[in-house]
Symmetry: C2
Subunit: 208 residues, 2 copies
């Protein structure tokens, strides 16, 4: 892998990667997933398409990397010491991404692109990349005793985001900061009430 010799930041590899991922997002937004090919990305990025094939394997690898990189770059994970405020700021950062013209168009392109295995993989990478970044927020809440031990961290994260993506992608209703604050507050109250502790942990007791 001759390319590995030049992976320092700002090196040729980093420049090619940045150009390719930027072009991929642009093609995704302008033409959607069905219209995106390695050829159109190569032309837009000014990069040889054999380079793209070699490094990303093809269209789905490019799209997955571009979307995951965008998603994690736009994940603003707060640590204020106040769980309610942390969740509110996280929900606000989802709102900001979804209502941003680029972010909103990208999310629509990714999540309204039908149901191919390739797109499923892209969506899963997007979710996983962001969930990995935000998990410590919920883990800190458990460590502080704000949420009970055994709280399912990923379900807390899903419940903060779900109402926001639902408004944008499912029922097509305007998405406001009040919706973000509500999703955070609802999840916060439910988590404090112990709803996210799986039942088996709280109800199954060893026989005496």
């Amino acid at each position: 892998m001759a390319d590995q010799a030049v992976t320092r930041p700002g090196g040729r590899t980093a420049r090619i990667r940045a150009a390719a991922l930027k072009a991929t997002l642009g093609e995704l937004i302008d033409h959607g997933y069905p219209g995106l090919t390695v050829y159109t990305v190569a032309a837009r990025a000014g990069v040889d398409k054999t380079t793209l094939y070699r490094r990303w394997g093809g269209r789905d690898g490019l799209v997955a990397d571009a979307v995951e990189t965008f998603g994690t770059a736009h994940a603003d994970v707060p640590d204020t010491g106040d769980t309610g405020e942390d969740l509110r700021r996280w929900a606000r950062s989802i709102h900001t991404m979804l209502t941003d013209p680029i972010g909103g168009a990208l999310v629509r392109a990714v999540f309204s692109a039908g149901d191919s295995p390739g797109m499923r993989h892209v969506r899963h990478r997007f979710w996983l990349g962001r969930a990995t970044l935000v998990r410590p927020l919920v883990e800190r809440a458990i460590a502080r005793g704000d949420f009970p031990q055994g709280t399912d961290v990923d379900n807390v994260i899903r419940h903060v985001g779900a109402p926001l993506y639902y408004r944008l992608l499912v029922i097509d209703e305007p998405l406001t900061t009040a919706d973000a604050d509500l999703a955070a507050a609802a999840t916060h109250a439910a988590a404090q009430a112990g709803v996210f502790v799986p039942r088996s942990r709280t109800t199954r007791r060893p026989p005496r």
Copy 2:
């Protein structure tokens, strides 16, 4: 409107409507919204296409009626006297619809069909038809004192459904009855904690 003379149940109008809506759902599931035309529906239903144009105005009217009719027919709104159990059963009925082969395919066809004004209208009719049916469930909870006065009924409904549609349509994760029970329990706890009472009602006081 000569047709109005024969709108009795089981009459010719009812039979044509049933055939047209069934054919519309079938075309939507088999070929998606982009592939659906009044011509293909007319052929599948064995109904003249001028009849479809006259009665539904065209493709979007047909699809909206078919999807709304399906959505309300599959809305199983319980009234057990127990708010937590009512919400759980409602969430289970959403789970049943989304995991049913026909229901799931239809919901995917409707909500992954991109972003045209016609599809927005269809989605909104689907949501509105089902929300109208389930509102009394939440209103009974308020009347019983389980949820505080001023609770935003539509937001309670949205928060029960959001995590389920989110798993199916956004992050492509398997949807289980445990997810339905969790969405119901989380919304129940949040509503009991007063989260769905708009802030202005609880914090704005008239000056003394």
